[in-house]
Amino acid sequence: MSDDFRARAKLSPKGHLYEDFNVGEVRIHHWGRTIAESDTLLFTTLTLSYNPLYSNRAFALAHGHSDIVVNPLLVFNTVLGLSVEDNSEIGGPFVGVGALTYRQPVYPGDTITARSTTKATRLSASNPANGIVTWLTEGFNQRDELVIDFERSNLVRLRHPPKKEAAA
């Protein structure tokens, strides 16, 4: 046996490829994330997202909220972020997001979890090394109430791409 740890190491792989996705299956994503006040203030100020609901507690309270409103784009990015290892980490580039609805506000201290349902898988004639997978991704708060849902499509690499036909 080699003394070198590198020679003895086995890669601990991450992510999924095209063949791993089947329409209708649901993946509960890992970890969850409690949104701290500092998270949303940092996100809001770094992205120059100037609406005082996201930066001024007194203003948010005067609009009937119980606290600063967590920037909805941070909610979106957190839910998408939690889904990356299961859905798209090693697969390939983003194609699009659509049909996104914010169902209710998120406040500092709320905890977000995410799950995705595979909605469609299709192969591409023009790009045989990749397919396109579409998921419905949903984000929930600590009361298991839906806070956001959206559809996302990505190019996803095939584990076993078809062998190239000889050029005609």
Partner: protein, 159 residues
């Protein structure tokens, strides 16, 4: 605190017209501060966004800025003129990332008013904006639609 003192006067619901296009005044350069910080804060595990070593030999020459950061910044650059007087963001659609963004690229934003709708409350209306993000070479890197519930001046300008 008078809440209407804290936001602009010319971006209530009544100010928007279908077809109007706004060029937003500020741009912002994307660096590790935006891309790596936000990518890691939201626990996006795709290392193309934070492992420089793995990306140096790629066609991009370095880390790719995460698309969610890129379009959040474009929507942020657009926010003061479009959603500063929003009561809520309702949703998004047709989000497309059209060109890669790397550290050092600068993004600018434009917004087009696609649609005005009545809301289910009389003190606000719904606006659908199409936001466009371009880089320092004027290349389109992002486009996407955002629905917002925006205060009417008639009910909010003096509150």
């Amino acid at each position: 605190m008078k809440i209407s003192d804290l936001t602009g006067k010319d971006n209530y619901f009544e100010a928007f017209e279908v077809g109007q296009v706004i060029r937003h005044a500020r741009g912002k350069t994307i660096e590790g501060l935006e891309n790596v910080l936000i990518t890691n804060l939201v626990m996006n595990t795709a290392q193309a966004h934070f492992n420089e070593d793995s990306m140096r030999g790629s066609q991009y020459g370095g880390r790719l800025s995460y698309g969610g950061v890129n379009f959040s910044l474009v929507m942020g650059l657009a926010m003061q003129d479009t959603g500063e007087n929003a009561l809520a963001e309702l949703g998004m659609d047709n989000i497309r990332l059209l060109s890669p963004v790397v550290h050092g690229d600068t993004l600018y934003a434009y917004s087009e008013v696609l649609k005005l709708e009545e809301a289910d409350r009389e003190d606000a209306g719904v606006v659908i904006f199409r936001h466009y993000g371009v880089n320092q070479d004027d290349k389109l890197v992002f486009q996407g639609d955002r629905r917002m519930l925006i205060k009417r001046a008639s009910h909010w300008a003096d509150r």
